[in-house]
């Protein structure tokens, strides 16, 4: 029986042990994570701040993936009439109804924008919540800087919400899950909150920073002035813009100025240049495509062009025409660019193998840094072949985007991230505010609250730079067809790189603006030409109060240009279309008594 006894004792002992150790036994700590108490070191606080910055890229959030970041290519530029979604009808079909200005409140891409932006805010708030508990080793200066950068970012994210959704619930570090977050209504104006955070950042941030991607004092100043401008507080905006222009420098210490060549703004080697007031930092090969400009991945030509995918973001006919200049080199401010022979000659409906002669009229040279057109050099990828690189010309039109497209040279030097399904990810920073924008905003403040002459100077500064960079490579003929066929091969153009690619004529405004109204028209048109495709125009049109008139005219014009237009049933209704609907998901969760839907939806 000895064995049995031994076994019994062992059995009993193990049972007793399991029982006696039970409390410990049922405590299983999480792995691969940390608690917020562990983040109060300097590295932890800095890392929390990095996480808040990282949401600027949108990080491919949402079911559809490309609409959450602060690039606003879709929300600012497509809705602003500078481009259409592009590609074909079925691709990312959920945004079709948005670009036709009648989105459903349940639209998933609208939700993605809302969610990504609030994630940025949540990250700022999480940081500000632990900042008071910073460990003793964190210096007061670091704490102040971290707080100021965080508040700069929070102001940026709320500015995004304000532009897209008008008023949304204001959540700061004092509110959280189970601490009343579900009770905050959207009945309070966000502007004072945005201003306060930018002001704190402006007052507390250093002029230069240890890393070029950080917000500095002057970025905060410029952004605060922009917020003032959006509220029509022109005098205050003017004062602040003047200060920024007088003393401003980038986080890496470069005095604000314009990059000498307009086209160089979109070269990776030129990231964080003197014009980069605040930009989303991008880098290829960091181990994630989310650092490599993920919002833009679809916005490359199709079928053989650089990246090969996916044909989104095709500039509009109307934008192309806008670059027409008159004999003196000034834009057609009377709107006549959309009529008769003023319209650009395009290859819409012209087969790849058929003869096409590009437009020969006067053009602002910025067109060929902004729009990919048939037979014009497409950066260093050779001449754009027209329809061959367009996914569905009947739907999206003849143009391809050109800003933010990488060059072969950049690809060769590692600027393109090839770790994912398409090489449409790259290290090109995306401007949130660049100095030319500051000049034009300052000009606007001057027009509304100061001097037309100063405004004209600012506008001309921008135009002077535009004139300094023309694209070379004129179409002079075609290679012959392969024998035995005879005749020219229209898919193989011959360019002469010693000649300008088009007939570029651009001059400054030399005659003083006759009135505030005249100055306003010139300024607004200059913003369109200078900043096209950079996610700005829609908000400009709305704040100027001209969105309905401008965009309905745009829709009427565009609709007639292609056979299967995405705008067939589009119309802009003000004030409804001025803002996106509050996502239905949020209203369903918080109820209509907390979250009021925007008018018209």
């Amino acid at each position: 029986m000895r064995i049995t006894k031994k076994l019994l004792i062992t059995l009993l002992a193990t049972v007793v042990c399991t029982v006696s150790c039970k409390d410990n036994f049922l405590n299983v700590k999480p792995t691969g994570s940390i608690t917020n108490a562990q983040l109060t070191s300097k590295a932890g606080l800095e890392g929390s701040l990095i996480a808040a910055y990282s949401m600027l890229t949108g990080r491919s959030v949402g079911a559809d993936g490309f609409y959450g970041g602060s690039t606003n290519w879709f929300w600012g530029s497509v809705l602003g009439g500078e481009a259409n979604k592009g590609t074909n009808s079925g691709d990312q079909a959920q945004v079709n109804e948005i670009q036709a200005y009648h989105p459903q409140t349940g639209n998933t891409s609208i939700l993605a924008k809302y969610q990504a932006t609030y994630e940025g805010i949540a990250r700022v708030n999480a940081l500000l919540r632990i900042l008071p508990d910073a460990q003793a080793t964190v210096t007061a200066a670091d704490k102040t800087r971290i707080e100021a950068e965080a508040k700069f970012l929070r102001a940026h994210y709320y500015f995004e919400l304000k532009k897209h959704f008008n008023n949304t619930p204001y959540i700061d570090e004092s509110v959280d899950y189970s601490k009343g977050i579900e009770l905050v209504k959207n009945d309070t104006d966000l502007w004072p909150k945005i201003e306060a955070d930018f002001q704190f950042a402006y007052d507390n941030l250093p002029e230069t920073q240890g890393a070029p991607g950080r917000a500095n004092k002057w970025a905060a100043g410029a952004y605060l002035a922009k917020a003032l401008l959006f509220q029509n507080k022109f005098a205050a905006a003017k004062t602040l813009f003047s200060a920024v222009m007088a003393g401003g420098k980038t986080a890496n210490g470069k005095a604000y100025g314009l990059v000498p060549k307009y086209g160089n703004l979109w070269r990776i080697a030129n990231n964080n240049n003197e014009e980069s007031v605040f930009a989303i930092q991008s880098a290829a090969g960091t181990g994630t495509i989310n650092n490599a400009n993920p919002d833009f991945v679809l916005n490359f030509p199709y079928n053989g062009g650089p990246a090969g995918c996916c044909g989104f973001f095709q500039p509009s006919f109307e934008l192309g025409n806008s670059f027409r200049t008159d004999a003196t080199g000034l834009p057609l401010l009377d709107g006549s660019y959309n009529t008769g022979a003023n319209q650009l000659v395009t290859d819409e409906g012209v087969a790849a193998k058929a003869l096409f002669t590009p437009d020969a009229g006067n053009l602002d040279p910025r067109i060929d840094h902004s729009i990919g057109r048939r037979y014009l050099p497409y950066l260093d990828h050779g001449p754009h072949p027209g329809v061959a690189w367009i996914r569905d010309q009947n739907y999206g039109g003849p143009y391809a985007p050109k800003k933010y497209i990488w060059t072969k040279a950049e690809e060769a030097s590692g600027g393109v991230d090839k770790s994912s399904w398409t090489p449409g990810y790259d290290g090109q920073n995306v401007y949130i505010i660049r100095y030319a924008d500051v000049l034009l905003m300052a000009a606007e403040a001057e027009i509304e609250a100061g001097s037309l002459a100063t405004a004209q100077t600012y506008i001309n500064t921008v135009r002077t730079r535009a004139a300094a960079d023309i694209v070379m490579g004129k179409l002079i003929g075609f290679q012959p067809l392969a024998a035995p066929a005879v005749g020219p091969d229209y898919t193989k153009p011959i360019l002469d790189n010693s000649l300008p690619a088009a007939n570029y004529v651009i001059t400054n405004y030399t005659v003083a603006f006759g009135s505030q109204a005249e100055a306003r028209i010139a300024l607004r048109f200059e913003r369109k030409l200078e900043l096209s495709g950079e996610g700005q125009r829609f908000y400009d049109l709305v704040r100027w109060g001209v969105a309905a008139a401008t965009l309905n005219a745009y829709l009427t014009y565009e609709k007639a240009q292609v056979t299967a237009s995405p705008f067939a049933d589009a119309s802009y209704v003000s004030p409804k279309s001025d803002h996106l609907p509050i996502p239905q998901r949020e209203i369903d969760i918080l109820s209509t008594s907390v979250l009021a839907q925007n008018p018209g939806y």
């Binding site: 792995t31 890392g47 998933t108 609030y118 061959a388």
Partner: protein
């Protein structure tokens, strides 16, 4: 026998040491056991009643047993035969002739922690015969439960080795509804390692009365597998060999348009659009890179010659060959692709007849004090997709030794190698139906594209005009050298001790150790319109270990043969698995030579990424007890209580107590039933009530607020290059979550009628789950990246009826028949979410369409969207309808707008506000079948046996999302078009259900709006199996030195009757809030098998 031989000295020694334990009054009984034909039956259990003292008959049917005294009673039982009880009464030789078990209600059932007589069970239990599990050539045994067990829903697909959606009595929670699997007493989370030929019995415990002894993890039912054991005291080895060979035929794919029709309908799309816009037919501009610009499309001879597309005429192939380039990516790719005018059948191109082999050798035997079973098996099976392969090699050892007369030690252990190559779809293959799988790609590739170009490279959508499907043959080929496999050791070691009569102490320690490894290659593609731009290579490994330690005491006592008590108490501690995994990925190795490529040889730098994680599993600590009482075999009652603690919950609510009560009344034993004796052999009424706990659907970290760093989620190149690390909130904790509770009630009848010719088992059941744990939808203001905690708020209702009817008999002398019907009715409904919430947002999106809404008052995973009333027939129809985006009323046309939109969907204005808005979306059906069942026919004639098995699923709906790709031109303009489109709406074909075929999408037709067009009837009937087998008569078998010999031929999935338009109505998906959607389902197709089974 060798093993026993080696162990014999040890056993003898032990016996000598403990000989004092042998009691003088013991009696010795021996005998032989024969079947109805007089043939000996090996493996019969002979048990001394009220004890666990027992033995098994040997291969000659002989047994010897020492019983405690001459007044002992023997219980003789064997699966398939009626159990018998025989009093010893001083006999020393007892020969028994077993009678076939004509009633299923007499069998022995392995439940809870014990083995019970079916007739004493008070709860809801079903059993499945071993043969049923081994007959079909599926990879995983649980797939074979489909239609075999009333109340069990099985949704699966055709991939060998796929996981399936197995649900016992509905869907109790919003997730984690998988049943608990018990293999030889050890809880495991899956059974894909089991070889069907090793399984002795399968039992499904369905209600709290039976399952709650397993407590916390049993709320979704328990499936108990017992593997084969040896036979104590057998004189010789019994060796069985089971072999199966077969082939699965992929069948035919969906009908897609041939090249000429495809071109014509591309033109029709343009014409129809022009009609809608009021463009006169003579001014329509046709343009397509392949079909030209004429008023009739021209099918070209070559799709691609270098950069030219739509080439007609001949091409100088010799000259072109010099320019050919598909390997040097620094130069432009140059291909010549000929149009396949006869049409490529892409489904055929990616599939093949898939062979199957399964072989098992089982060796069982035993000595006086030992028994063993060795099972060695191999299953090698191809999937119908070209490169798919499943293999499972298993080695099982089950042994048991008597150390003392009243002390036994035993183990059940299996070593398994398992590999599923090219398994498609997430969640172990289960998710495939909801994914844009390679099966879908086959229906997106236009038939005009050939598989290969003129010089041996792949052809594809690099030829412009066909949008972006990727050549699926190339995709499969690209992964053909990728591999993944797992090695697994699963089993337990136990000790059983009987210190006094009727008391059994058992301790068992079980473990499950698994390790896995994979490597995979992805080629750099050139043939597609959208190509991946790098060669990539990944490699990784994982290991995990789970354990369970169980201790029970079981005391059986009978008073004056009227009062029978059975008390079981126990303790259990377990860990669900701790382990680690790691993997790496790199790009562009210098050479793609498989002998060269490792992670080290991929390009250095940040594109070479690594990842690892570590998990500790969940700990459970439990105590439980069960008391069974029966009076005079007439009144039976059972009480179960279990207290569980789990590390998933915070200290406040860690423990839950879960009781269950049940009782049964054998009404047929009552005197007043005597008059019905000729009709009613046995009738028992059962009732049970109980509460089970569940914690499956809550993250182990639910109680903690956590922060994380992740390069994709929170890094940022703040310095302009590289990436700085960021920390973000990843989880908000809830320390107060507590156990989910499933309250079950069950009322059942077990009856045997007409002298054993008919068994009827009926159960009415109710399962209400409350305190359901789920992540209550939170406002996005909390941040999207922080998982919100589960809180106890939801309620779910499941109700059903389970029916099993078995009739058996003989038609005329030699022809025997058996007819079994199993059926389960199920009603599932979400009863409560959190206050103020009527649905769960965040439902899955499919190209912008969100078909599912888990909504209050509806079944789980229900479909939601606009109700299609029909198609707009004319402008007057549009003008009279509510305002709807996508069509323009005459009165609403803006300047420059043409009113129109005929042939598009007309939606129902459910809120009657005259506009079609989001508020008009409604419930469109549920994928949960209302009834699933099976029918089994068996006829026997002399040695022949004909058996067929049918499955029926009624009342489920399917969301056929694949139609979005194949039936609408603008979804991906240029991709393949379904033959169905020829029936689409035109001004002359007004009875159509498919809308007008246009080249623009809009709200009304095909844009990102779910509507009832996609919802189809998912009911189906499937003839799943017909088997003809022949058993050699045992006397002839003996002449060739065999115990038995059986040969069979069989065909599976013979035909399916269904109205469903997709490939296969068996549509699963990622459970549980997201299934029933068919994007690219993998069909279950016909297979033919034959086999041989013999023993000697």
């Amino acid at each position: 026998m060798k093993l026993y031989g080696r162990l014999r000295p040890i056993v003898s020694l032990l016996l000598m040491l403990t000989s004092t334990a042998l009691l003088a009054q013991q009696a010795n009984v021996s005998g032989s056991i024969i079947d109805e034909n007089g043939a000996p039956i090996p493996g019969v259990t002979i048990l001394e009643k009220g004890t666990s003292n027992g033995t098994n008959s040997d291969n000659d049917g002989k047994y010897t047993l020492n019983v405690s005294g001459s007044s002992a009673t023997l219980v003789i039982s064997f699966i398939g035969y009626k159990s018998q009880e025989i009093a010893v009464n001083n006999q020393t030789a007892i020969n028994v002739s077993l009678v076939p078990d004509i009633t299923a209600l007499q069998e022995v059932v392995v439940t809870g922690y014990s083995v019970d007589q079916r007739r004493d069970i008070t709860g809801a239990v079903s059993t499945v015969k071993a043969r049923a599990l081994s007959i079909s050539p599926s990879g995983n045994v649980e797939q074979q439960l489909q239609g075999r067990v009333p109340g069990v829903t099985v949704i699966t697909n055709g991939q060998p080795g796929t996981t399936s959606q197995i649900r016992v009595r509905g869907f109790g929670a919003f997730g984690g509804n998988e049943p608990l699997y018990i293999v030889d007493g050890l809880p495991v989370t899956d059974t894909n390692f089991l070889n069907p030929d090793d399984i002795e019995s399968t039992t499904v415990l369905k209600d709290a009365s039976t399952a709650s002894i397993y407590g916390a993890r049993a709320a979704n039912g328990v499936i108990v597998y017992t593997t084969k054991k040896g036979t104590r005291g057998s004189k010789k080895l019994s060796i069985t060999v089971d072999s199966m060979f077969g082939v699965t035929n992929p069948g035919t794919g969906q009908k897609m348009m041939n090249p000429q029709d495809f071109a014509d309908w591309t033109w029709n799309a343009t014409k129809n659009t022009a009609m809608q816009l009021g463009v006169p037919s003579d001014s329509i501009k046709f343009t397509h890179p392949q079909f030209g610009t004429g008023t009739t499309p021209l099918v070209p001879d070559y799709l691609l010659v270098g950069t030219s597309s739509g080439v007609t005429g001949s091409v100088d192939l010799a000259a072109e060959k010099a320019k050919y380039n598909v390997t040097d990516f620094s130069r432009p790719i140059y291909q010549v692709v000929k149009a396949n005018k006869s049409g490529t059948d892409w489904y055929k191109a990616i599939t093949h007849n898939a062979p199957l082999f399964r072989n098992t050798i089982g060796i069982r035997g035993g000595g006086e004090n030992s028994r063993f079973y060795f099972g060695l098996s191999s299953q090698e099976q191809d999937g119908i997709l070209n490169t798919q392969h499943f293999s499972r090699e298993a080695f099982r050892v089950n042994t048991e030794f008597n150390i003392l007369k009243n002390l036994r030690i035993g183990e059940n252990l299996q070593f398994t190698y398992r590999a599923t190559h090219s398994l498609q779809g997430g969640n172990g293959g289960q998710g495939i139906s909801g994914e844009e799988s390679i099966v879908l790609t086959a229906f997106r590739m236009p038939s005009i594209i050939p598989i290969y170009d003129e010089f041996g490279g792949y052809a594809g959508t690099r030829a412009p005009g066909f949008n972006n499907p990727a050549n699926p043959v190339a995709s499969l080929d690209g992964g053909k050298d990728s591999r993944g496999f797992e090695n697994r050791s699963t089993g337990n070691l136990y000790l059983e001790f009987e210190p006094i009569k009727g008391l059994t102490a058992r301790t068992s320690y079980g473990g499950n150790f698994g390790s896995s490894y994979f490597w995979s290659y992805q080629r750099r593609t050139y043939e597609n319109s959208e190509n991946n731009s790098a060669v990539s290579y990944s490699e990784g490994a994982a290991q995990a270990y789970a354990w369970t330690f169980t201790n029970t005491l079981d005391y059986k006592k009978s008073f004056s043969n009227l009062h029978n008590f059975d008390l079981l108490v126990g303790q259990e501690a377990l860990n669900t698995g701790k382990g680690r995994n790691m993997s790496g990925t790199g790009l562009n190795p210098f050479s793609e030579d498989r002998d060269f490529v490792t992670l080290n040889t991929t390009a250095p730098g940040a594109t070479r990424t690594v990842g690892s994680n570590y998990f500790k599993g969940v700990n459970f600590s439990s105590y439980f007890g069960r008391l069974n009482y029966s009076f005079n075999d007439r009144y039976i009652a059972s009480v179960v209580v279990r207290r569980d603690g789990s590390s998933r919950f915070g200290a406040n609510n860690r423990y839950g107590v879960f009781p269950a009560f049940s009782a049964a009344w054998r009404i047929s034993s009552e005197p007043f039933m005597n008059g019905l004796k000729s009709v009613v052999d046995d009738l028992k009424i059962r009732g049970g009530y109980g509460i089970m706990g569940n914690s499956n659907n809550v993250d182990p970290n639910n109680q903690y607020s956590l922060y994380q760093t992740n390069v994709g989620n929170s890094s940022y190149p703040i310095a302009g290059t590289g990436a700085s690390e960021g920390y973000y909130r990843s989880r908000i904790g809830n320390p107060n979550a507590r156990w989910e509770k499933a309250v079950t009630t069950n009322i059942g009848f077990d009856g045997t009628f007409l002298s054993g010719k008919m068994d009827i088992i009926v159960d009415f059941w109710n399962k209400d789950t409350r305190d359901l744990l789920f992540s209550v939808p939170q406002t996005s203001e909390n941040g999207l990246f922080a998982a919100v905690p589960s809180v106890n708020v939801g309620k779910m209702m499941n109700r059903g009826v389970d029916i099993q009817v078995i009739t058996r008999g003989k038609i005329s002398g030699k022809i025997g028949y058996e007819f079994t019907v199993n059926g389960g009715f199920l009603k599932n409904q979400i009863v409560a979410l959190s206050p103020g919430i009527i649905y769960l947002p965040g439902d899955p999106g499919f190209r912008g369409i969100n078909p599912i809404r888990n909504q209050l008052g509806r079944p789980i995973s229900s479909f939601f969207g606009y109700q299609v009333l029909g198609l707009f027939q004319n402008q007057a129809d549009i003008d009279a309808a509510p305002t709807q985006s996508g069509v323009i009323k005459t009165a609403d046309a803006l300047p420059g707008q043409v009113p129109g939109g005929v042939g598009r969907f007309k939606f129902a204005d459910l809120d009657g506000d005259g506009k079609i808005t989001q508020a008009d979306r409604t419930w469109l059906g549920s994928p949960v079948p209302k009834f699933t069942g099976g029918m089994n026919f068996k006829f026997t004639f002399v040695g022949f046996e004909l058996e067929s098995y049918m499955f029926l699923s009624l009342g489920g709906k399917i969301w056929n999302q694949s139609k979005w790709f194949t039936d609408f031109y603008p979804s991906f303009a240029g991709a393949a078009i379904s033959e169905r489109v020829k029936q689409s709406w035109t001004p002359t074909n007004t009875g159509a259900t498919i809308p007008i075929f246009e080249n623009v999408s809009n709200f009304s037709t095909q844009s990102a709006n779910g509507n009832s067009f996609y919802v189809e009837n998912g009911s189906y009937f499937r003839m799943q199996n017909i088997t003809l087998s022949y058993n050699l008569p045992s006397d002839i078998a003996r002449k060739i030195s065999m115990e038995r010999l059986r040969v069979f031929i069989s065909t599976n999935n013979v035909f399916t009757i269904s109205k469903y338009q997709g490939m296969d109505p068996s549509v699963g998906g990622n459970a549980d809030l997201n299934f029933g959607i068919d994007v690219g389902n993998y069909p279950i197709t016909r297979s033919y098998t034959c086999g041989l089974s013999f023993g000697f």
